[in-house]
């Protein structure tokens, strides 16, 4: 069996919105559906969404070739307007490909909000999922800025 590949990825962004507005863009599943797909060609469909400590989301990320990845999120800690910590498990076909611990930290910076996203990833398929997280979340965090452009 392949050894587990462990990685940590940190991404930082600054948004022209209050921590409360940025937090709402994470807590509101309708908002998350708008910004979390990395490209227009990728669809995200939610089978369950329950944003509270102990709650679970189940979402399906469908790529243009119909390959799909099912992500199950367990919300562990939610501090309104400050921090969200969740564990995420990704299954591709019938194979579990990764587990990750993800922290979202929000802090006010003048009229803006600084967001730090830390992904601690254990991949079971070599480096593939690490690249997937890098690509997917980098694009999603860029999309998130559009939520605050009006």
């Amino acid at each position: 069996m392949t050894a587990i590949a462990h990685a940590t990825i940190v991404m930082e962004r600054s948004y022209n919105a209050s921590p409360a507005r940025v937090f709402n863009a994470w807590s509101d599943v309708e908002a998350r559906k708008r910004w979390s797909a990395p490209t227009d060609a990728i669809r995200i469909e939610y089978e369950a969404a329950d944003f509270r400590e102990g709650g679970k989301d189940v979402s399906r990320c469908i790529e243009p070739d119909n390959a799909d990845f099912v992500a199950t999120v367990n919300y562990i800690e939610i501090r309104k307007d400050q921090r969200i910590v969740f564990a995420e498990d990704v299954v591709h076909g019938n194979k579990r490909v990764s587990a990750a611990l993800i922290s979202v930290e929000l802090a006010p910076k003048g009229d803006a909000t600084r967001l730090a996203l830390t992904m601690q990833i254990a991949s079971f398929d070599g480096a593939g999922m690490e690249q997937g997280y890098q690509f997917g979340w980098s694009a999603a965090l860029d999309n998130l800025a559009k939520e605050f452009s009006q």
Binding site: A3, I4, I76, Q82, R83, D89
Partner: protein, 151 residues
């Protein structure tokens, strides 16, 4: 507003045991066996429940009489018999959540018996704990596992 801090860290512990992988794995999988080594000091009043399957939960709590209660609360995310255990767990001191961790245990056959690699990727919350203390605590637990395997 309370100031929040989150510190992320990873540590890796490698151990070699003079026992086959199946025996090491069983010490994690069997609730009675695991309760014997996965525990705090003898003088603590402790409880432990384990449902060892994907999606199953584990809760271990204990503390000195009248003192702070230490509680570990985890869920198994992936299990490959005799080879791999992946879990996510949180630690509380009384009602305060102090950390959330992703822990992976990999077991491989070795010349001596079995080589165990434990990797913990943790988010330590609001300054209550850090990776150094957690690594030390985990080293002690893996020492207790060795004592258990040897008896």
């Amino acid at each position: 507003m309370t100031q929040r801090s989150t510190t992320h860290a990873t540590f890796v512990i490698e151990r070699e045991y003079a026992h086959p992988p199946a025996k090491v794995f069983a010490a994690y999988a069997d609730p009675n066996m695991k309760s014997k080594w996965f525990r705090g000091p003898e003088e603590w009043k402790s409880t432990h429940t384990l449902d060892f399957r994907v999606g199953g939960k584990e809760v271990s709590s204990g503390g000195p009489p009248g003192g702070t209660m230490h509680k570990m609360n985890g869920e198994y995310w992936d299990i490959v018999e005799n080879e791999r255990i992946v879990m996510c767990y949180e630690m509380h001191l009384d009602a305060t959540r102090i950390s959330v961790s992703l822990g992976t245990t990999e077991i491989k056959p070795s010349a001596k018996g079995a080589k165990l690699t434990y990797t913990e990727q943790g988010a330590y919350l609001d300054g209550y704990d850090d990776a150094g203390q957690r690594e030390q605590g985990t080293q002690e637990l893996l020492g207790q596992l060795e004592t258990f395997l040897n008896t």
